[in-house]
Structures are given as C-alpha cells and as structure tokens.
Amino acid sequence: MAHRPNTPQSPVQLFRVFAGLSLAGFGGVLPIAEDRLVRRERWIEEHDFYQTLSLAQILPGPNICNMAVMLGDRFFGLRGALAALAGLILPPLLPVLALAFFYTAWSDSPLVSGALRAMAMAAAGLMLAMALRLGSGLSHPRSDYAIAALVVVAIAVLRLPLAYTLLGVGALSLAIALRRS
C-alpha cells in the first residue's frame, strides 16, 4: 500500500470539508470531491480514489454518499462516517428544495420549462463527458469497452431492469477480470 501523505484531524474537520465540497459541487459533487480530497487535502491518492469510487458505484445507492461513509470510516470509524455523510447531505438540501419549490410554483410557464428542458440536456452532456473521462483511464480498453457496450444495450436500448443487468454483465465482467493474470 502506498503511503498516504495526509489525514484529517477530527470528525468536525471531515464534516467541514465534506460540507464545503458539497456546497461547491454544482452538477454533481464528484469532480469537486476528487479535487478537494485528492489534490487539496491529500487524504487519498488518485488511483485509490477511483478504485473506492468504482466500489461505491456498484454498491446500492448514491455513490458519493457511499464514498463519504467509506472515507469517513477509514479515518474515524462510525463517527467519521456519520460526520462525512451529514456534511455531504444536509447543508445543500435547503437551496435544492428552494429551487424545487420555485419550479413547482412556476412550472406552467413555457419560459421556465424551456430553461429546465435545456438544462436537462446540458446535464445529459455532462454525464457523457464524465463517461468519456472514465473511459480514457481504462487499463484494458478492448474488453472494458465491450462490457460497457453490453451495459448500454441492456439499459438504454432494451430498457432491462438494472438488477438483472448488473447480475448478468457483472458476472461476465468479473469472469474476465479474474482470468487476467
């Protein structure tokens, strides 16, 4: 295991850093989380961050929350897990619910709905950009792209339930990963 250059001082600091990155994380906290945790605080190395992330992503539920819990637990056990999770989730709830309230009040306006429809398309573009970033760091591009393509066909084209897709393609992906020496 490579050395870890830095560690948080207390659960309170964990809460503060997670609240800060959460409130700064527009359009998904992940890029900000990577920047703050890997580069600014240096609590975790980049490859470790992405490996933890891919585990957090396959576990049920929101991956950044899973990640906050796993990182918080790594440093301060259950207290750290709760501190990181609370920092991540609670502070930004107020602005998002204010926006939701505003939207439900104005949803009949074609101007507001036009703006939101366009924003949803920007969100879609950002997700695809995120996928490109994920795809550019693969160590076994050929088999990885084939697995990713199977997932896209199952989920986006055939609209199969996620659970079946994960069981089927997950088993295949695992079999391929285990055969590599």
């Binding site: 992405y50 539920g61 991956n63 998002v96």
Partner: protein, 162 residues
C-alpha cells in the same frame, strides 16, 4: 432498488417511475434532473426534488432517507469487511471488473436523459455542445447548466420550442 450509484440510476428511475408506475411525467423527471444539477450538492438530491413533486416536503424527506440510509449502511458494512481483505489479491480484480460497468451505466444515463428531447433537435444539440464544453474546454458544470438555462429560456421566448 438503486444498485449502481446515483446518476447511473436515472434510466432505472425513468423506467420505473415514469413508464411503469406513471408517478412522474417525463418532463417532471427531466426538470428534477435539471434542478438537481443547478443546485449545489450530491446528485442524490434529485430524489428530494422528485419526492417534493410527488408529495411535498414530507415526500422529499422520506425519499431522501429511503435513498440514502439503507445503502450507506451497506457501504459501511462493506468497508468494514473490505478493510479486513484490503490485501486480498481478488480485491483489485473485483474493482477492475466494476469500472467498465460504471462506464456503461453513465453512458446509458446520458443517453436516456437526452432521449427525452429526441423530437426537439434544437435542444438535443445542447447535449454534444455541453459534452464538448466540459470535455475539451473544461468549463465548470454549473456554467454549462446555467448557460443552457438561458439558451432554453431564449428558445422558449422566441417560440421555437413545442
């Protein structure tokens, strides 16, 4: 129900909430995603916005708790188990097996959201534009989303959107 992270669950939410149960219209789901992206915080907040649209403040609170608590408990338990097997040679392989799946799910999420405007080329064109602005110019997501909001507002004001 939400195996696989959060944005990646969008296709599943669309399949279940919009197509199977008709709890939300496609437009409401897309608006929830837009609101989630326009506000700071984790993408799971989208669930609070959806809960709000279905059942107000209580709906937001219940949906948020339901989305977060069981899964973080599992994550915590997994981390406790994983911490014991950190040096197990199978661990990096398991993680390597998960990466291409995350990639496929992310592509699916982007495509499913984009497909809500499949009939509206003017809006659909914003998808590759946003991708390019983020991927090549590394513009911050909030600039891209808010910028798109102004563009959509202008399109609607010109009467170009059906």
């Amino acid at each position: 129900m939400s195996l696989g992270g959060f944005l990646v669950v969008i296709p599943e939410m669309q399949r279940y909430l919009v197509i199977e149960r008709s709890l939300l219209s496609p437009a409401q789901l897309a608006a929830s995603i837009a609101i989630g992206q326009a506000a700071p915080g984790p993408n799971v907040q989208l669930v609070a916005v959806i809960g709000w649209q279905i059942a107000g403040a209580m709906g937001a609170a219940v949906c948020m708790l339901a989305a977060v608590l069981p899964s973080v408990a599992i994550a915590w338990g997994t981390r406790r188990l994983g911490a014991r097997f950190t040096h197990d040679p199978a661990m990096p392989k398991l993680r390597a097996a998960l990466l291409p799946i995350s990639l496929g799910l992310m592509v699916s999420a982007g495509s499913v959201v984009a497909s809500t405007e499949a009939h509206q080329p003017l809006l659909l064109a914003l998808v590759p534009l946003a991708l390019w602005l983020s991927w090549r110019l590394r513009l911050s997501p909030i600039l891209i989303v808010v910028g798109a909001g102004f563009v959509g507002f202008a399109f609607a004001a010109m009467g170009w959107l059906v």
